[in-house]
Symmetry: C2
Subunit: 155 residues, 2 copies
C-alpha cells in the first residue's frame, strides 16, 4: 500500500502542483502532459520513471505493476504507454519485430540490443557519430536516425 499518509482531503488523491509525498513530481509531470493523474497512471509512471532509464515492454510493465501491488489491466497498460508516448514522456522503439519496447529516455541516443536476452541497453550518449548521411529521397526530410548495434555473447 501507500507508505505515506498525507490526507488527500479534497477528494482527489493528488494535489496539483505541490509535490505530495508518494507522488513526488509524478503528479505534476502528468498534469503538464495534459493527462489526468489517475491512480493507474501514477503507479505506472512511478514504475517507469522511478529508477533511471528503462526499456520495457507492455507485458513486462504489466507484471511489474501486478507485483507492485497496483494491478492495472493490460489494456490500460497499452493505452497508458501510448498516451505517454504521445505526450513525449516515452519513446517507442522497434528492435525486435514481435514486441514493442518503450524507452524512458526520450533524448537522442542509440541502443545495444542483446540478442541472447532480448534486452535493450542505452548506448553511451557521446559514443557514436555518424557521417556522410546520404540525403533522403527527394521531397523527404529526416525524422530521426536510429542505430541499433546487435551484440551477442562472445564465444
Amino acid at each position: 500500500m501507500k507508505q505515506n499518509d498525507t490526507t488527500p482531503g479534497s477528494g482527489g488523491f493528488c494535489h496539483a502542483e505541490q509535490a505530495c509525498p508518494g507522488c513526488g513530481n509524478t503528479c505534476k509531470m502528468l498534469r503538464d502532459a495534459g493527462l489526468r493523474p489517475t491512480r493507474q497512471r501514477m503507479a505506472l509512471a512511478d514504475l517507469l520513471f522511478g529508477k533511471g532509464d528503462r526499456h520495457i515492454s507492455a507485458e513486462l510493465l504489466f507484471d511489474e505493476a501486478s507485483q507492485a501491488g497496483a494491478p492495472v489491466s493490460l489494456a490500460t497498460i497499452y493505452n497508458t504507454l501510448h498516451q505517454f508516448t504521445r505526450a513525449g514522456l516515452l519513446k517507442a522503439i522497434s528492435i525486435d519485430s514481435s514486441k514493442t519496447y518503450f524507452d524512458t529516455n526520450t533524448g537522442d541516443h542509440h541502443h545495444f540490443y542483446l540478442e541472447d536476452t532480448e534486452e535493450v541497453v542505452d548506448m553511451p550518449e557521446n559514443g557514436i557519430s555518424i557521417a556522410n548521411l546520404p540525403s533522403p529521397p527527394e521531397g523527404m526530410e529526416i525524422a530521426s536516425v536510429d542505430v541499433v548495434v546487435r551484440v551477442r555473447r562472445a564465444r
Copy 2:
C-alpha cells in the same frame, strides 16, 4: 551430392546445374542453399530476386504470387521466407514493429524508412559512415550494426 548428373527428363521439372528454361539460375541457387527446388520455392524466388533489391512483407509476397498465377499458401510463404533467410538468401529486418520485412540484399547496408508509406528503401552503399562506436558491454561481441533513417514527406 551429385553435381554433374544433369540428365533432363529424369522426373523432376528442374535439372540441377544447367539453366533450364523457366528456371534460369534460380534452380541452382536453391540447390546450393540446400533447398529442394519445388514449384512454390521457384516461383517465390523468381518474384523475390527477379527484379533487383526488394523489401517485402509476407503478405505482399502472397499477393504478388497470387497475381502472378502461382498461388502459394500464406503458411508456405512464411516457411519459405524463413528458409531463405536461414539459407542466407534473404535478410529479415524489423523496422516497423508490426510487420517483418525481408530484404533481398544480404550485403551490409542500411535503410531509409518512409513513414508515410511504410516503405523500406536501401541507402546508397557508400554513403554512411559510423565512427566512435562504443565498445559493447563486456563479454559481448558485435553481431551487426543496423541504421534506419526515418524520413517523411517534407511539408
